[in-house]
Symmetry: C2
Amino acid sequence: MTEAMPRQRKKILLVSAHPEPRSLNAALTTFAVERLRAAGHEVRVSDLYAMKWKAAVDADDFPDHVADERLDVLATQERATLAGRLSSDVAAEQEKVRWSDAVILQFPMWWFAMPAILKGWIDRVFSNGFAYGPAVPPPYSEGALGGRRALVSVTIGARESAFSERGVHGRLADVLHPVQHGLFWFTGMAPLEPFALYGAVGLPEQRFAVAKRAYGRRLDGLFTDEPVAFRSLIGDYDHDMRLLPGAEAPGASGLDLHVR
Amino acid sequence: MTEAMPRQRKKILLVSAHPEPRSLNAALTTFAVERLRAAGHEVRVSDLYAMKWKAAVDADDFPDHVADERLDVLATQERATLAGRLSSDVAAEQEKVRWSDAVILQFPMWWFAMPAILKGWIDRVFSNGFAYGPAVPPPYSEGALGGRRALVSVTIGARESAFSERGVHGRLADVLHPVQHGLFWFTGMAPLEPFALYGAVGLPEQRFAVAKRAYGRRLDGLFTDEPVAFRSLIGDYDHDMRLLPGAEAPGASGLDLHVR
């Protein structure tokens, strides 16, 4: 009887990126924290604006970097990561990711992508040696962060039809491919279908109530919903990292090639 | 006789996003400036790291914003833009975009997207009232910035096959869709095919020389090469912003639906 099964206490990192504490994004963050805690989970929140998160990768990320030396970002990141010599703000976020069983990114879609401050969280925290690179398991399968689940919760000004199969902005799955496949799946995290709140500008209270119910169901399924079935690099692709001939699902094309 | 035609002097804004002045990206920026000036054009450079560009949209962008007021980013941006009351760093960049006949974005691909500092240039400079919104011409056709050309020049660590038609990372055109279609074409700019330098980590001098020749040809064609033929919102889409039935090119699917 599933009702009698003991709940599994999990650890969730929620990363939120909106400058206004009374925004819709902040409200969704608060809602998620309460919902997940009520289900018995542990939740930590990185509220990037409240933290005054530094967005740009630069030499200050690497305390050992010699001032006049050429900054090779990849090599310097790897050296600093493996030596445990990253700036303390980055190290603290890596510790949260390592601690987590799931990561949720909460953001408004700006220019068909995440806000700069959140991109800067990724650029700096998902460093060479931590999230990818020769020192960790290979991408697109086990990955450096394998065993974790990942969910995008995004607010979007446009209506849903504009992000539908034939919508002018492109399918939401395609627009978010750099995050779903390029960030989450690359690092071995299991990405769930994104939760999108469309028509988010001046959202009436009644529609927000409906949205919260829908988001609540997604949060309840964080560890049980089926993730997007992206393909494994090992087995499905050749040595040039191209999908093997005939491996695609019948009729699949575009970015759907990479879904089983 | 084309040889005898007087050259047209054009204005180009080059936006560059790498923390290291001796990087490959910096070298490509320098090369582009010299090539375009040698062709008789005017060039201005926004070197975002050198400018210490603030990446995150926040209340400081709006000098008239009252400290305790709820920050509605969209509405506040529009009001400040139309009143000419944006922070001076944003206003200066808008003036450069307005001045330009073409915009070039030079950046390393980090996590299948642009670095945070460049995303923050877009989030802050391409404001409501300047790049989109009810006060300017409609998107995906004339647009707020119509009449300009736009080029991405990107360095990529991976090899080209991984971004090819069946490559594991997705086609480069799909990965850059949020920029090519969502930023450039949305605002009415005519996007050229991106210039990509693959295998950019530890690039041997000889391969850099080859890359410069290829990039030089792209710069020479900045105002004559055929742009990507994205569809116009007016005529090709219905009122729900979905591509009209049967409008697609034969066999087109995925994001290619939006190319004529």
